[in-house]
Symmetry: C2
Subunit: 433 residues, 2 copies
């Protein structure tokens, strides 16, 4: 006889695990609602073309994709953004802007499972569509920060690294690089975090042999910019960067709004962050936790070209995603997930003689939204009270033969052991308090 | 330029749709919790063998199944029960019985999409594992009934049809049919609801030509049993049915408990229900709505052999599922889904001069779990108040230049138009009330 396994990178949620997942989801949802974001959802499976249209064919090797019985090439979603663009793109004219939407949903990527990375994981996605202002950028960053803070994570636990692809693009343009070369250079900068700066120099030499030294030196300087003043200086001293300096105005406006929000302390300027994904067009950010492991908790930015790229009328867009796996690990390590034991308000204890009236009260209490458990068949008081304490009952309500004859029951506080008599007719009232 | 479609039988949930889905899920969850069921979840994808082991290879034509990049034959789940059995089977020894679990999750079946039937749908599943008593059966039926009642559906909207496969099995055994023939006869009875009784007779003649008339007559008699008294009579007059009569004791115990619960009015005895699925071993039930369309809302029953069949130690089990599609249609038709408009508690109205203090309050209020929206960039008061009413704000909080100079703001009730001044320092307190 065989028994069955779960697929690698997928999770089962036993009730204790499910309680933790719900705890995390509830915080996502509550924070999003406090920011006046509306919840939506998209299908778990979409035509595969939707994902390759955004990310190119390279993404296929990471997809759970297949041909369905109708001959359609379909894929489980590796991310939510393309579906978001589809939903809004198909109805954009009828919708008031800005659109502030969030989702908590499962995503699927065929990757090698490892700590912090699974094949199935949940993401909290939040996006603002139809507003190109730095105010929208700031609202997105603030939501990401407040989400983490609502888990009781503090400034010492995480930091937001804020960067801007527009500034990088202006810098490369001022050194004569075209769009493709700029993209290659950004990929090299993205990789340098993991692979070291020598690799960046190598890549720059490949992209622009004639001017590599100067470009590399500029890259180093921009990566060392960590304050608005540094940034102004950089723009002033860099040749041909007047455009970038004016482009910086939006970046400064974002910083100003973060300051007004009282959230400056969480934010660092860090142009080492560029986000590998080609579709970002403006400011980008990543949130890292501050321990030695420095894992990424969240990432996002502005992507004003994606609606157009997927064939829809252009709409400015900005958003982020927080995954549940790394965040869950961090919350666990910091003891920020409270014990979530099974809890039941009442456990009804009864005899064969009192079964009829006891069972009527089981339903009557549940109708008042009081959670009630009981032994499914009559058994000894001892066994029933043991069962009551196993399910975490707060009160046992004892329908003893003598008490019921006198129209009463005993309420036993399972923690203190204290018992008090109550008239049956007043039970619902007493216990719902 | 192309735009993208959603796959047939899959749904997008725009915020209004998502609110309805959450309304339905919240009712499922709340009712399950009042019954002291614990929430769990299983992977959306499992090894395909898990599903064929339960249902045979015939199910494959209904699956979204494929080979993954690691060469595994996998499938999106068409139902939750096999995963439930796997999860409990793998840890049964360490778990206290009875296990009362529920799930609200997505299921996938490749069928022809039609009204009430989609390729992706949600099910509310609830099961009791490790208890073979009629008390467990009754708890399951009561949960199904109370779930529907909590949506404000009444006795006139739906009925529970209660039946018992054990009694059918005893009846066929008393007429000399073996297990395979009994299964075939049950399938014929299941089909007769849609295809008429002539087909049943045909099928019985095929299964047991020598005794078809008598068996068919017995089938008709049992299908006309609608009260405990009828049932006793049937057992008494039917030859060789002593076993069935004793087996009926459990069925009567279930009816007695439903009576104690005060839920008898919802229940009818109806042996025309046998449920096509071979894995049921005892009582079975279906819930139908009472309109002319008589759609099935829920179904379930006892399945004591499934753990053994999937290679685990035997455990008695009983459960049901309610789908979201037919139920959602019914609730819509009966106007039992309340309007769920977008609602925001506060909309902050500000000027360029008051932006700094207003934005600080945006975050401060959200930290107190008050939902707050505002225009992402400063604009005219008129436009801001229009935006406030578009998002369904209850209050506009107006940070006017003069008021703020005097450390005050105005709170405008968006419904009544009434305005009242408040000190900024008291704003959070006043608005969280």
């Amino acid at each position: 006889m065989s028994t069955f396994q779960t697929l690698p990178g997928f999770r089962e949620f036993y009730p204790g695990d499910c309680a933790v997942r719900n705890f995390i989801f509830d915080h996502f949802r509550r924070t999003a609602k406090s920011f006046a974001f509306e919840e939506y959802d998209a299908p778990i499976i979409e035509p595969m073309e939707l994902f390759t249209a955004k990310s190119g064919d390279e993404i296929v090797s990471q997809l759970f994709n297949f041909e369905d019985r109708g001959g359609r090439q379909i894929s489980m979603r590796p991310e939510l953004t393309p579906s978001l663009v589809k939903m809004i793109g198909n109805r954009a004219n009828a919708m008031k802007k800005p659109i502030k939407w969030f989702n908590i949903g499962e995503q699927f990527r065929y990757e090698r499972p490892q700590k912090g990375r699974l094949r199935s994981f949940y993401q909290f996605n939040a996006d603002i569509i139809g507003d190109d202002s730095p105010g929208a950028d700031a609202e997105i960053v603030a939501l990401a920060i407040q989400t983490l803070r609502n888990f009781a994570l503090t400034r010492s636990d995480f930091r937001v690294r804020l960067s801007d692809r527009k500034l990088w693009a202006a810098f490369f343009e001022s050194h004569g690089l075209d769009g493709t070369d700029t993209q290659a250079a950004l990929v090299a900068i993205d990789k340098s975090e993991r692979e070291g700066e020598a690799k960046t120099l190598e890549a720059v030499e490949k992209i622009c042999p004639s001017n590599a030294g100067k470009i590399f030196e500029g890259i180093q300087r921009l990566k060392n910019v960590h304050s608005p003043r540094d940034l102004e200086k950089f723009c002033a001293t860099c040749e041909n960067l007047a455009d970038a300096a004016s482009g910086c105005a939006e970046f400064f406006a974002l910083l100003k709004r973060m300051d007004e929000f009282g959230l400056s302390d969480f934010v660092t300027i860090d142009f080492g962050v560029v986000r590998g994904l080609a579709y970002y067009t403006g400011f980008v950010f990543e949130i890292f936790e501050n321990s030695g492991q420095s894992r990424a908790l969240a990432g996002g930015g502005r992507y004003d070209n994606l609606f157009g790229k997927l064939g829809y009328s252009g709409l400015p867009a900005v958003g982020f995603a927080i995954g549940d796996v790394t965040l869950g690990n961090l919350l666990g390590e910091k003891n920020l997930i409270p014990p979530l034991p099974r809890e039941v308000r009442c456990f009804i204890v009864y005899t064969e003689q009192t079964e009829k009236i006891a069972m009527a009260k089981v339903i009557a209490l549940r109708e008042r939204n009081v959670d009630v458990d009981y032994c499914l068949s009559p058994t000894s008081f001892g066994k029933q009270l043991k069962a009551a304490s196993q399910v975490g009952a707060k009160f046992a309500i004892i329908f003893g033969d003598e008490e019921v004859k006198a129209n009463g029951v005993k309420i036993k506080n399972m923690l203190s052991g204290e018992e008090k008599p109550v008239e049956i007719s007043k039970l619902a009232e007493v216990i719902s308090q």
